[in-house]
């Protein structure tokens, strides 16, 4: 009896030790402070889910908070609170790229690593920025999707936001470049871009104009969340077999995705974004990366993320390099008939 008991104990001990050995994870003992733009926002709650998932895998603990009024001084209060607690890293989605710089520089001086995600902090206030997708990746994803929907041939138009909207213009220029340069799109005839000014009625009317002008129109790309529902509604009302894709919220488009107007629409996944930001923060704290251009880090299920020089639109509307570095997930989330319902409450 005694021997059996000691055997059981020994076995348990061995298992216990191996379990403990196996559980030594890169984030053990680390504390990360997560700051987002505003509390009570479903988008950021989803991002926190990503941090939770990473915390389970990496072993770190984290706190999260955002000001209830979405102010930058509220974010400063939260960051100073984290500095006092001696966190190892701060992951922040900034309400104002510049307002947090001095406070975050204090954090860096105290040895805290700073990752900005979703909305970047100015270069001098961060070690690394983690963003969902580069302009080029967004453009190519939309083009690829619409090409698939229309079988790679036919007329294609774009309904954009304002004619001066810098992000949209950048995406459109990448779409136009690919249409010209990539032989996969040789049979697609691009008829041009109209501007709905992010207003529902104007977007609807411009789409109607397009449909009347090009009776054979096959596909529309609408790279703006504000315009997309109007475009899809117009196509549905006119009863045309035109396919629509774009950057959209799930809640806006569920109706049109189910009606077959859209095969798929896209937006980044805030859960994956938080997840990747957590991996970046742990890698920075452990010294696996320093946040310099040319380095890379692994995020399970997302891939190897390369760190590159970040770019920003200059006054001429062109991409110009900045002092900071950035890594893109370059992975957009597709809303399809199967997936859209799961996202309706979040995006």
């Amino acid at each position: 009896m005694k021997r059996a008991l000691s055997l059981v104990l020994a076995v348990m001990l061995v298992f216990g030790v191996t379990a403990a050995l196996a559980e030594e994870r890169p984030g053990d003992g680390l504390l990360i402070g997560v700051v987002y733009k505003q509390s009570g926002n479903a988008y950021f709650q989803a991002a926190v889910t990503g941090f939770e998932k990473a915390a389970e895998e990496l072993g770190f603990t984290f706190q999260h908070d955002g000001p209830d009024d979405g102010s930058s001084d509220g974010q400063i209060r939260i960051i100073e609170n984290y500095i006092n607690q001696g966190v190892d890293a701060i992951a922040v989605s900034a309400n104002d790229a510049d307002a947090l710089v001095a406070t975050l520089q204090e954090a860096k001086a105290a040895g805290i690593k700073v990752v900005s995600w979703d909305a970047p902090v100015a270069a001098e206030g961060r070690d690394l920025d983690v963003e969902p997708a580069s302009s080029k990746a967004i453009a190519l994803q939309l083009l690829e999707s619409i090409s698939e929907s229309i079988g790679g041939e036919g007329q294609l138009a774009i309904v954009s936001a304002m004619a001066t909207a810098p992000n949209q213009n950048l995406w459109i220029s990448f779409i136009e470049e690919a249409l010209k340069g990539d032989s996969a799109y040789a049979n697609i005839e691009y008829v041009g871009t109209v501007y709905g000014d992010d207003e529902y009625t104007k977007s609807y009317d411009e789409t109607l104009g397009l449909i009347n002008l090009y009776p054979d129109l096959k596909g529309i790309i609408t790279p703006t969340t504000a315009g997309a529902p109007a475009v899809a509604k117009c196509v549905l009302d006119e009863g045309k077999s035109i396919k629509v894709t774009g950057l959209t919220l799930a809640s806006d488009m569920a109706e049109y995705i189910k009606a077959g107007v859209c095969d798929a629409t896209f937006l980044w996944n805030p859960i994956e974004l938080g997840y990747a930001a957590a991996y970046a923060a742990v890698a920075l704290v452990n010294g696996d990366i320093t946040g310099a251009s040319g380095e890379s880090y692994e995020v399970p299920g997302v891939g190897t993320l390369n760190i590159e020089q970040s770019t920003a639109l200059n006054e001429a509307g062109e991409l110009a390099p900045t002092d900071g570095t950035i890594s893109y997930l370059n992975k957009l989330n597709a809303f399809t008939v199967e997936t859209v319902d799961a996202w309706v409450d979040i995006l």
Binding site: S71, D73, I78, E80, N81, Q85, A99
Partner: protein, 369 residues
């Protein structure tokens, strides 16, 4: 003058003693929680000690200057809820004027001095407009007038900035403002520049409000406006000046705010700051019905709010929004407590008097037999 100071201090001693007691109890509770967390391995380091708290008070000192302005409005029995907006407008003026001046080739230092003057003047003017409206249209509540000007000032700030954020990056002159958010190292303690400036300002206010005839007029105005008027005090003039001064303290808060937010200027800055300031003034002993209050009490209440937010945030993991809730609770308790105490005191006295009356009437009846 010293005697007067001592006398007025004596009358308010009770409330301030209570504030100090509350602060001490709070610190003791937080300190125990801090130690418990360290023992349990929940905390990475000692997060609640004088050095951390003094430095950590910084973000909660931003509205302190505004509180000095607003408390005197309360002392007169009025209210001003436009100060956050007028501060935002002052700061917008600061940014726009600085941009225009440096754009015109004027050296940075001079531009900064001029635009700071414009900023303070704008704050004073905003307050003066409030003061003029309040004294001119006595039939309207100050609350409604300053609600209107609050919306108006905020709107003008949006117009001035065109809805954008104005920043001056790597601008040597403008970066001087960032120093306002710095700390001065004294031994182990990093003393915030803002705290020193506020304590100096509060000391001046204390001498003025509690030690001079001018200061007592303010309280007199709040206690009995008619009697004050008949005693030869130009009530409207005092009121106008105090409203203008309140606007000015808002602009000062604005300048420090720009320093704190890395010289980033936005029209939605300092939203709701006037409410924090009113809360601090009320906890400090200023009554919204006027005539009562003390400057040391306000300083104490600002510290209490700061320490409480730091403690709840770092030791109990309260979210920023939850901390505001607890401020609300404290405010309710602190305003109700004196009333409840007075009511209880009155009831006790009444009972005593009744008991005495009973005894004496019984004595009378027994005597007649």
């Amino acid at each position: 003058m010293m005697k007067r100071l001592a006398r007025s201090a004596g009358g308010l001693l009770r409330w301030e003693t209570m504030l100090i007691a509350a602060l001490v109890v709070m610190c003791a509770v937080f300190d125990r929680q801090d130690a418990a967390r360290q023992v349990a391995g929940l905390a990475k380091k000692d997060v609640f000690n004088p050095a951390v708290v003094i430095k950590g008070l910084r973000p909660y000192m931003l509205y302190s200057f505004m509180t000095l302005g607003i408390m005197l409005i309360l002392a007169m029995g009025d209210i001003d809820i436009s100060t956050g907006a007028s501060a935002a407008l002052s700061v917008a003026a600061l940014g726009v004027v600085y941009q225009a001046l440096t754009g015109a080739g004027i050296p940075g230092g001079l531009s900064l001095a001029l635009s700071l003057a414009v900023c303070l003047l704008t704050g004073w003017l905003c307050g003066a407009v409030n003061g003029w409206l309040v004294t001119r249209f006595k039939e309207l509540f100050a609350m409604i007038i300053t609600l209107a000007t609050q919306l108006f000032y905020r709107g003008v700030a949006y117009l001035l900035l065109g809805g954008k954020t104005l920043t001056f990056k790597n601008d040597a002159a403008f970066d001087l403002l960032k120093r306002l958010y710095n700390t001065v190292q004294i031994g182990d303690v990093s003393l915030p520049v803002m705290l020193i400036a506020f304590l100096a300002a509060a000391a001046c206010y204390a001498v003025w409000v509690h030690g001079t005839a001018g200061g007592r007029r303010v309280f007199a105005l709040g206690t009995n406006p008619k009697a004050t008027l008949y005693s030869g005090i130009r009530a409207d003039r005092v009121k106008f000046r105090l409203f203008a001064l309140c606007g000015l303290t808002g602009a000062v808060t604005g300048v420090f705010f720009v320093g704190a937010t890395s010289s980033s200027i936005r029209a939605d800055a300092m939203m709701g700051y006037e409410m924090y300031a009113i809360a601090a003034a009320v906890l400090g002993g200023f009554s919204t019905s006027g005539g009562r209050g003390s400057v040391p009490g306000v300083v104490l209440s600002l510290v209490i709010f700061g320490v409480m937010k730091i403690g709840l945030g770092t030791l109990y993991g309260f979210a920023d929004s939850m901390v505001n809730l607890s401020v609300g609770v404290i405010l309710i308790v602190s305003t109700l407590l004196p009333n409840l105490l007075t009511a209880a005191g009155d009831a006790l006295r009444l009972r005593k008097r009744r008991a005495q009356a009973n005894v004496s009437s019984r004595a009378l009846t027994s005597g007649s037999i």
